[in-house]
């Protein structure tokens, strides 16, 4: 790794001010993504500010209204093992346990998880192949290169990368809120607005700017949350990023769907919410496979596969259907 300095933050306001003033400063919590990026020279901050010691940032709190508040530096393993998270939001615990490894889950923070950068092999390439995310204006090697793992929704000619986070998919389905403290105070970002589509500025992954510190992720209670499930399909049985994944949650009267939530991973630059499918699923029977399939298909009319990933269009619909059925079994 390149040389850098390391300091420890003990006051959030000062940490935010330092980050706002210094474009070469990066916050570090678990470090499992940032140090990988630094080893691959995809990030070269001159100063690291360790935020693990900031007060209250590691807390996981079961809220009295049925929601949970997850501190930004809470570790993935602590969130996944938390009894209230497991009971209230099984989709969140499952998505965490299907990600990374036991060692990495003990290290990686929740804030860092949702900020992790794409696993696009061109972006991570140490040899600086064209990548607009890594070097704006240099082009996109994946657009006409090997793009089996890339997006089928929402991509641009500038970038076809996908977001690799699993728990982000579950949080998008649950309409979580990212609590951010910045120079002008605290603000709440709806989870589905947190990550960006690439457009012409793929170097920006999310809505955060200089001086922004994630303090927590809040997950509101919902009628669907307890009957929720996360399904991940990948090339290996374990310890691998998703080809395609789905977070599903269902509220039902008997076997009839009252409301459903569906979000997918591995298909876009951000967690991809299937809003058209959610609308079409209302009133459908969980036992009517054809009705479920056609409702899900409503969210795939705008799918635009690349040269090597057209299989994802069919796979994603099957994964959404299976996740919905498994969530439905809990309703």
């Amino acid at each position: 790794m390149h040389p850098f300095t390391l300091s420890r933050a003990d006051d959030p306001a000062k940490a935010i001010a330092a980050h706002a003033l210094d474009p070469q400063l990066a916050f570090i919590a678990g470090g499992t993504d940032l140090l990988g990026l630094m080893k691959d020279r995809a990030a070269q901050p001159e100063r690291l500010l360790d935020i693990n010691g900031l007060p209250d940032l590691a807390r996981i709190e079961a809220l009295s209204d049925g929601g949970v508040r997850i501190g930004a530096v809470a570790r993935m393993s602590d969130v996944a093992a938390n009894a209230e998270v497991r009971r209230r939001f099984p989709v969140i615990a499952e998505s965490l346990l299907l990600a990374a490894s036991g060692q990495l889950r003990n290290m990686a923070s929740m804030g860092g998880n949702i900020m992790q950068r794409t696993r696009c092999a061109y972006f991570r390439d140490e040899d600086d192949v064209p990548c607009n995310k890594r070097r704006p204006g240099s082009g996109c090697a994946a657009r006409h290169g090997l793009n089996r793992n890339h997006a089928i929704f929402g991509w641009s000619d500038a970038c076809v990368a996908t977001n690799p986070s699993d728990v982000a998919v579950a949080l998008a389905a649950m309409d979580a809120i990212v609590i951010v403290r910045g120079r002008t105070g605290e603000r709440s970002i709806p989870f589905t607005d947190f990550h960006r589509l690439p457009g012409s500025t793929p170097e920006r992954d999310n809505a955060l700017g200089r001086g922004d510190l994630i303090t927590a992720v809040e997950v509101p209670a919902s009628v669907e949350a307890r009957a929720s499930h996360y399904l991940k399909v990948r090339d290996r049985e374990s310890y691998e990023f998703a080809l395609v994944s789905a977070a599903a949650a269902v509220a039902a009267d008997g076997r009839r769907i009252r409301s459903a939530r569906l979000a997918m991973g591995g298909v876009a630059h951000k967690p991809w919410r299937l809003t058209a499918a959610e609308t079409a699923l209302r009133g459908a029977s969980l036992d009517d496979i054809d009705a479920l399939k056609s409702a899900i298909a409503a969210s795939f009319t705008d799918a635009r596969p690349l040269a090597h990933n057209s299989f994802k269009v069919e796979l994603a619909q099957r994964v959404a259907l299976r996740a919905l059925q498994m969530a439905g079994a809990r309703a």
């Binding site: 040389p3 470090g31 140090l35 615990a93 060692q103 290290m107």
Partner: protein, 197 residues
């Protein structure tokens, strides 16, 4: 010598980039308790815990393989939890209790999981073994603490050590790669040490 860990972030933020590189290569002092022994080592901020253990403390039982958080060979425990020593900075472990493979033995007696690895032939070339054993020891503790895994049929239910099936062990050990493919024997060894045989 100035200590960047004690320097405030405001000083750090106002440092010019030219000066920062010079200071970044300065050695800083880190206190760790490694295998129950207090240690003070001098490291560069960019030094990983893995390199610090191997190079500053000559604890070469912890292996450097992928150095990218992909293989598990560098697994150690920090404050009782298994972590990848290649993906954390030594200077971020200030004050922590670190246990390496050298610290498992007690009074000349192998840890039960070390003995089980020998009994079940849990290795061939041995390069991944220290990481496998450090991971396996933690897997048993995590199961005792009631942590579920992706192999747990329904994680809404409480998890106990009695639920630690072979499938559970396989899933929980999936962050440790073995190129000799001793996986079935590794699972046998962890199952025995967990009292699950």
């Amino acid at each position: 010598m100035s200590d960047p860990m004690k320097r405030s972030f405001a000083d750090s933020a106002s440092t010019s980039s030219g000066a920062a590189v010079a200071e970044a290569c300065e050695l800083i002092s880190v206190n760790l308790i490694v295998n129950d022994q207090p240690q003070t080592i001098m490291v560069e901020p960019r030094m990983t815990l893995l390199d610090a253990l191997r190079e500053a403390l000559a604890l070469t039982g912890t292996k450097k393989s992928c150095d990218r958080g992909e293989c598990g060979a560098c697994t150690v425990h920090a404050d009782g939890r298994r972590i990848l020593s290649c993906m954390t900075l030594a200077a971020m472990q200030e004050g922590k209790h670190v246990t390496t493979i050298e610290g498992l033995e007690r009074n000349g007696k192998l840890h039960p999981l070390q003995a089980a690895f020998i009994e079940h032939d849990g290795f061939q070339c041995g390069f991944c073994t220290s990481g496998q054993i450090m991971s396996g020891v933690a897997v048993i503790e995590e199961a005792k603490a009631g942590w579920p895994s992706a192999a747990t049929p329904d994680l809404r239910n409480p998890f106990t050590l009695a639920d630690l099936s072979r499938a559970e062990i396989g899933e929980r050990m999936s962050g440790n790669l073995c190129r000799c493919a001793c996986y079935p024997n590794i699972v046998d060894a962890v199952a025995e040490a967990a009292g699950r045989n």
